[in-house]
């Protein structure tokens, strides 16, 4: 029998809080970053590319030297089979090219791709960019200015024991001097948003997010954020189990936060990526989706604040919260970013080919 059952080994607040210096912190330095995998991408100011490294449990900030100005003279960009083009440049089979994420440098309008060369654990990371004329080139990583911050992660027991746990970085955003990172564990089913000070100083705060889900007065605490974006000091997060949720950025301070469910995106919905843009006097959210085309939702701060949270379930496949339309002509969009005030850039994947193209913002 259990002889004694001891409680109180730690403060209750720590259950939902990790707040401590990073394991390793570098200021900007010049050399070759020890990037193990180039995953989620975002841009910080001055052409600094933020790269999520799931295998290395870290975020890198890499100076691209690409500070603009933007060249908007190139018109439409279309690169069919961009995976094949990259394969040719690196000497690999097209099937061995995995494009992990895409981000546009807002300073220059150049498009950046994070790539794995190979599909095995020894796959090499690489960064490619496409300029306004559609020219594809790589960003050599052997001598760049970069900074790195590693995650202070879940408690590690028994140092030296093989630890197969990874926190896969599913999205990164830069907002107001901070880097926000969404992650998903390959073991426990948890939801945390990490906030890193930028420039990196070792400070990081991880906040657990609770989300209402409709029926029976239930509250769900377990769900990973799939993709998110910041808007008017609010995190707009799409969850793997379909709610669209708002969380004030200022609330990401380590205390447990309850998100507000503002839309239910429906079944067969696997949110992949999102952007916010302005057209006329109206802001819109555009959300890509593995099976349902692209969703377009008018958005305003006033709406997000005033919409009643969804706390009751919506029967019969009905909708509640913010309204949206589905753009059926945009299918198989796996990556999405805003290229400029009038265009979006998409990665469209079908039958082993990945095409890059620009479209007018819908």
């Amino acid at each position: 029998m259990v002889r004694r059952f001891c409680l109180g080994l730690s403060l209750s607040a720590l259950l939902f809080l990790v707040h401590s210096p990073a394991q390793a912190v570098d200021g900007f330095t010049t050399g070759r970053p020890d990037l193990k995998q180039a995953g989620a991408l975002a841009f910080a100011p001055d052409g600094v590319l933020l790269v999520g490294d799931t295998l290395g449990a870290a975020v890198f900030a890499i100076e691209t030297g690409d500070r603009g100005p933007a060249d908007n003279t190139g018109g439409e960009i279309q690169i069919a089979g961009i995976n094949k083009r990259i394969a040719a440049l690196v000497g690999a089979a097209p099937d061995d090219i995995l494009i992990n994420d895409m981000a546009v440098n807002p300073s220059s309008g150049n498009i950046y791709l994070s790539v794995s060369i190979g599909r095995g654990p020894e796959a090499a990371p690489a960064i490619f960019r496409i300029d306004a004329s559609g020219q594809l080139s790589d960003l050599p990583l052997d001598n760049v200015r970069y900074a790195k911050t590693a995650f202070e992660d879940a408690p590690e027991f028994q140092p030296g024991r093989r630890n197969p746990r990874l926190s896969t970085i599913t999205d990164i955003q830069f907002t107001d001097g901070r880097v926000i990172v969404a992650g998903l564990s390959n073991e426990e089913f948890a939801s945390k948003l990490r906030v890193l000070d930028y420039p990196f100083n070792g400070q990081q705060v991880a906040t657990s997010i609770e989300v209402f889900h409709g029926a029976h007065g239930r509250l769900e605490t377990h769900s990973p954020v799939r993709t998110f974006i910041t808007y008017e000091n609010t995190v707009l997060a799409a969850y793997t189990c379909t709610p669209l949720v708002t969380i004030p950025v200022e609330d990401l301070d380590g205390d447990k936060v309850r998100g507000k469910t503002v839309a239910e995106l429906g079944n067969r919905n696997n949110p992949l990526d999102m952007i916010i843009y302005r057209k006329g006097d109206q802001d819109y959210l555009l959300l890509t989706n593995s099976a349902r085309g692209v969703m377009k939702m008018p958005l305003s701060k006033q709406q997000l604040d005033s919409v009643a949270p969804i706390t009751e379930h919506v029967p019969g496949g009905g909708t509640a919260g913010l309204a949206y339309e589905t753009l059926q002509d945009l299918q198989n969009v796996v990556q999405l970013d805003k290229l400029d005030d009038s265009r979006a850039v998409l990665l469209v994947a079908a039958d082993g080919a990945v095409d890059l193209k620009t479209i007018p913002l819908p």
Binding site: V2, L15, G120, P155, H216, H222, S290
Partner: protein, 387 residues
């Protein structure tokens, strides 16, 4: 190996002649291929670690435009034109009468390369030399060796709200198409969209363990996927998790065979874990007998291997080996050295989950009015005394 380019077949097969002396830039001797181009000029291809091409015997090569001598093209498919395909990225170095090209990225090239002879080299080669020289990689391993070694949970009866499977492989696997090779069947009927499909895919660092979540939107009551499609599993029915043999390992080879896990579904489990329901078996001093915890239900296999640790009452962590047994209902820890008499603890992280995502800290779904029942601890400790 051909003695000259005129007698060489159109394709040079790199069956790895070993050149014993590799004196350029003090590089180590590696398996490589030498191609005589005529006029005392030859090209060597070194496959690893970085694909490298060394042109030797060039009279007075230009140091400013070495790419005018040759470029390397990743061998294109039939739809591409080798003359217009962009050259591979890399670095040229010129030293003496040698031009060396080192590819920037070490990549597994299954198709081979084409050496595109440039105008500067054409001028010094004998008349009639070809404009391109294809190079094929050597024979590659073709027999599949990878297999599925285990699928967890290992029990034959699984709860209706099962949250995840772990699929273990005998060697590293490829990433990027996992969900194409996994299917769930109820009898002969394929279950529609049962899994959470994440482009990133959830692997361990060695890519030998794949984590497969059932779709959380179909497990959670009250969200639309659950309302409209229902849960992926239904109590009382029988299912098969099928893993297709076409799943490729890290070398691009399929599995030796497919794998099936048959199971019956039982009632859902929405209960928070309660360590008061566990039993501990205490070892004797002077032995390496394991301390064991017997659970009242199967728990998460991966977390049982990671989030329990044995400590002496002084706080020192005890080194030893963990085994997870009896369908993940039994955890054992055998110390590296025999137990000494004294008081010990098994420390358990409160995020330890059962098969349905219920943890010590809280159940998978929490009723608002029950929030106070959530266990606020990050770890609990179970004491045992070794005599």
């Amino acid at each position: 190996m051909c003695a000259s380019i005129r007698s060489c077949s159109a394709v040079v097969r790199a069956t790895a002649a070993l050149l014993g002396a590799c004196f350029l830039w003090n590089c180590p001797a590696v398996a490589d291929t030498r191609i005589e181009l005529g006029g005392g000029i030859h090209l060597r291809w070194i496959a690893a670690p970085q694909p490298t091409f060394v042109l030797e015997g060039v009279p007075h090569p230009s140091t400013t435009a070495p790419q005018a001598y040759f470029e390397i093209v990743s061998r294109p498919d039939e739809s591409s034109d080798v003359r217009t395909q962009p050259a591979m990225l890399g670095r040229y170095e010129v030293q003496g009468n040698t031009i060396r090209f080192t590819a920037r990225y070490a990549s597994r090239n299954r198709a081979g390369y084409v050496v595109r002879i440039g105008p500067a080299l054409q001028r010094v080669l004998p008349t009639g030399a070809p404009a391109t020289i294809p190079i094929e990689p050597g024979e590659q391993k073709t027999a599949p060796t990878a297999r599925v070694t285990a699928v967890y949970p290992s029990a034959d009866i699984l709860p209706e709200n099962l949250l995840k499977f772990y699929i273990h492989f005998s060697q590293p696997m490829s990433r990027g198409r996992a969900y194409d090779w996994i299917e769930l069947y109820e009898g002969d009927r394929k279950v529609e969209m049962p899994f959470l499909e994440l482009g990133e895919e959830l692997w361990d660092p060695q890519q030998q363990r794949f984590t497969l979540f059932l779709h959380p939107g179909r497990l959670k009551r009250g969200v639309r996927p659950n309302e409209e499609l229902g849960p992926p599993l239904t109590a009382g029915r029988q299912y098969t998790l099928r893993i297709n043999s076409s799943w490729q390992d890290a070398n691009g080879l399929p599995l030796q065979s497919g794998y099936e896990k048959h199971f019956t579904v039982g009632p859902p489990d929405r209960q928070q874990l309660n360590p008061e329901d566990w039993k501990i078996e205490t070892p004797r001093a002077g032995t390496r007998q394991p301390v064991a915890i017997v659970f009242n239900e199967p728990l998460d296999h991966a977390m049982l291997e990671r989030v329990l640790v044995v400590k002496h009452q002084t706080g020192n962590t005890i080194d030893g080996e963990i085994q997870v047994l009896d369908g993940e209902t039994r955890w054992e820890f055998a110390p590296a050295v025999p137990w000494k008499t004294g008081t010990y603890f098994v420390e358990v992280a409160a995020n330890l989950e059962d098969l349905c995502g219920n943890s010590i800290a809280r159940p998978f779904e929490v009723k608002l009015q029950d929030r106070v029942a959530a266990n606020p601890q990050t770890r609990i400790a179970i004491e045992f005394i070794v005599k």
